[in-house]
Subunit: 445 residues, 2 copies
């Protein structure tokens, strides 16, 4: 390991953004055609380069942290900005883990004979170039770069200004790794100014998917300012509904976990709905468990009849993601009313029911419109790692796929390949049209 000053990327002289994006697009074409083994070699070379440049990276991060303290950066942001040897080595281990994941490209999804000698295949392939915009967290650079390379995509990163030296040092090491493995360093690029963010969002000719990582307000800003598809979600307003047939012990354990285990996570609940048939007995016990976990409760009129000490919840509460140890409570008079409340105020992220009644559970899971519909378990399971995807690119609350937690498969698309031997459409139309055979073939052949 050599100790050196913060590294500048080889192409640090600012290229005009369009040229930079064109260079990334070109480098991405080589990555797209690369074998899984070659992409894994690049990921290993990147991990090795990051290890080799640990001292330079930590020095760059220290410079960012010093500046952040001078600028009195808010403490949670500072925590996310701060790297140390342990955190860096953990992130490098995460890079190597991506090499072990299955390659999401090259999967044959359809293999069909249309007619003798005319064969259709649908095969997964990279999207092209990803634009990833994140705020203070420099370790995102390593994770997203390895995911982009594994999926065969180019990557243009835009980090927060408070992390500029850290990100520059990290991307420099990543470019060294790419070059070592024989790939163009332009496959991964770093932008550092706020003006470039706006320009990036306008590059719909060169960028195929934008992944914003940051606050809800930031994600909403990105969604409202680009024609490029955006993977992510602005709000995580998740609900837990305690049905009249709920097991109260399960309800208490799930409510505490879903609210208090990690309140700033998007899969934490913001509203607890409870059926009026069990509210008088269940609500005091639920409230005690939640308050013991440090949760501040707010209630609608009916819950305050049962627990008069609760401060009132207003209409605004139903549409608020607190991201804090606050929970709004509402008493509903039916499963129907619970589903209707969730479909009105929810953000289509993840909603759960606690009940021993299988029919109520089936109704809830069928009719709640959300990426995740849960029965007798915590909403906190809504996560790519927990679903077994190996890595999570983001959680999407849009309706069209990819929806919910998105793993590497969210970074690929597909193309249709048709191979013939001079086949023309005229054969299959008109009076003497030959019928298509449409025989599905073995996907692995």
């Amino acid at each position: 390991m050599t100790v050196s000053s913060p590294v500048q990327p080889p192409d640090a002289e600012a290229l005009p953004l369009v040229e930079l994006a064109q260079a990334t697009r070109q480098a991405a074409q080589t990555l797209a055609s690369a074998t899984t083994a070659d992409k894994n070699r690049a990921i290993e070379a990147i991990a090795a380069a990051l290890e080799q440049q640990e001292a330079a990276i930590l020095a760059a991060n220290q410079a960012d942290c010093d500046a952040a303290q001078r600028d009195q950066l808010a403490k949670p942001l500072y925590e996310r900005l701060k790297l140390d040897g342990v955190k860096l080595r953990g992130a490098i281990a995460g890079v190597r883990d991506v090499a072990k994941l299955p390659d999401p490209g090259g999967t044959v999804q359809i293999h069909r004979e249309l007619d003798t000698g005319l064969i259709l295949k649908r095969v997964t392939c990279p999207l092209g170039v990803l634009g990833v915009i994140f705020e203070s967290r420099p370790d995102a650079v390593m994770q997203i770069s390895s995911l982009a390379i594994k999926s065969g995509n180019g990557l243009i990163l835009k980090g927060g200004k408070e992390a500029v030296q850290s990100c520059t040092a990290l991307v420099a090491a990543i470019k060294v790794g790419l070059a070592t493995a024989g790939f163009a360093p332009a496959a991964v690029q770093l932008l550092t100014t706020r003006a470039e963010t706006q320009a990036l969002l306008a590059l719909d000719e060169y960028i195929d998917l934008i992944i914003p990582r940051g606050s809800n307000a930031f994600v909403r800003f990105v969604q409202n300012n680009t024609r490029i598809p955006v993977l992510g979600h602005a709000d995580g307003i998740c609900h837990l509904y305690i049905d009249q047939a709920a097991d109260l012990a399960k309800a208490c354990a799930i409510a505490v976990d879903a609210k208090a285990a990690y309140p700033s996570a998007c899969n934490a609940i913001e509203t607890l709905l409870i059926h009026n048939a069990i509210a008088p007995t269940a609500l005091p016990e639920l409230a005690a468990a939640l308050q013991a976990a440090g949760v501040a409760l707010r209630g609608d009129a009916l819950s305050r009849q049962i627990l008069p000490a609760l401060p009132p919840a207003s209409e605004d509460d139903w549409a608020t993601e607190y991201s804090a140890l606050i929970l709004a409570i509402k008493v509903v008079n039916s499963l129907e009313a619970a589903i209707s409340h969730i479909n009105t105020y929810g953000s289509r992220h993840t909603d759960a029911i606690v009940t021993e009644d299988p029919e109520a559970a089936a109704q809830f899971m069928d009719r709640v419109d959300a990426a995740g519909v849960y029965h007798n378990c915590s909403t906190r399971f809504a996560d790519g790692f927990r679903y077994g995807f190996g890595a999570e690119v983001g959680i999407s609350t849009q309706k069209m796929p990819p929806r919910g937690p998105v793993g590497l498969e969210g970074l690929v698309t597909y193309k249709y390949q048709v191979v013939g031997d001079g086949h023309v459409s005229a054969t299959y139309s008109g009076k003497d049209a030959k019928p298509f055979s449409h025989q599905d073939l073995d996907l692995s052949s």
Copy 2:
């Protein structure tokens, strides 16, 4: 069959658009939970109602056609507007065909044990409400309504003003069919004014997917004026590349089919690229075959050295979808140059290579960025029916799935269902974290 005057829909008094969309959304929830058998019964009832109201529908269409003649509607639009008994009965047969297609909903895509008793499923489900905007073609009403119902979605239709009476009569019959089968008639709605189109595009809270059917300019207008996802494509600029290792007989047959079989189709070619090594011998033969099929050719400087009679093709030609018997020709000096031209000027729809060189074909199919990449066959096969999808909702040239010809599967999304027995996330985190088992289970159980 009763002969009557054009029918008014039951809810013909204009509802404010938001209320109308809410009613459709509610009706869609019932459709979303309906069994395949019940949805097929609704489709059969619609087919029967359309048959029963044939006379009223044809009378309404005649009124539209009379008005169109008074207004001197362009002939191709008039042809698309005109219904007769044969065309109507063909469309009704098409409605019944949709009942025979597999239900795209309820498919289990992932079935996984996360831990003992904690089970994840990913299951396909309807999108919600579709907004379909089309120009003069009234038969689109029948096709898209049956596809929407089969996929469990509500539908808001907006037809062109020249087809207003035809569409009103058709939707009236469809609503009768829905009611006969016990579904809310509000599941399918018709808008008829231009002002409503703008309002429809703003309803991103109520509509999950917009499908525009019409001219390129119209589709582009829709794409530029809504935040709702749009399924479709503005341009179909498809290419045929004749490689130096091409079989000339195949090249001629494919070129003629791809250009002349149906020149206004989006999967017809607009540009022929040819390798300079074979251009001197092949181009005269290709040109003769194309001209014999009535195609007007334009050439770049190199092709005009071989065929001096060709009018020149300009830079604009490479980016133009003629939708007519016109073809631009360009001589390229390598496979590389052909791929680069296609990736620069193409619309990512469908592009083909003619070659006997498997390595050139593999390079082309890997590196051309299009929904369809073809080898030794006509681009005209880019079509949902020809791919064996049973029905085609549209052809998408966006990069994210659904891409290319989209069948019923483009009208569904998926949700993640997780079922536990009181499972909480705290069990799987921290110092004594229990590992997840992540065992894939049988998809059909």
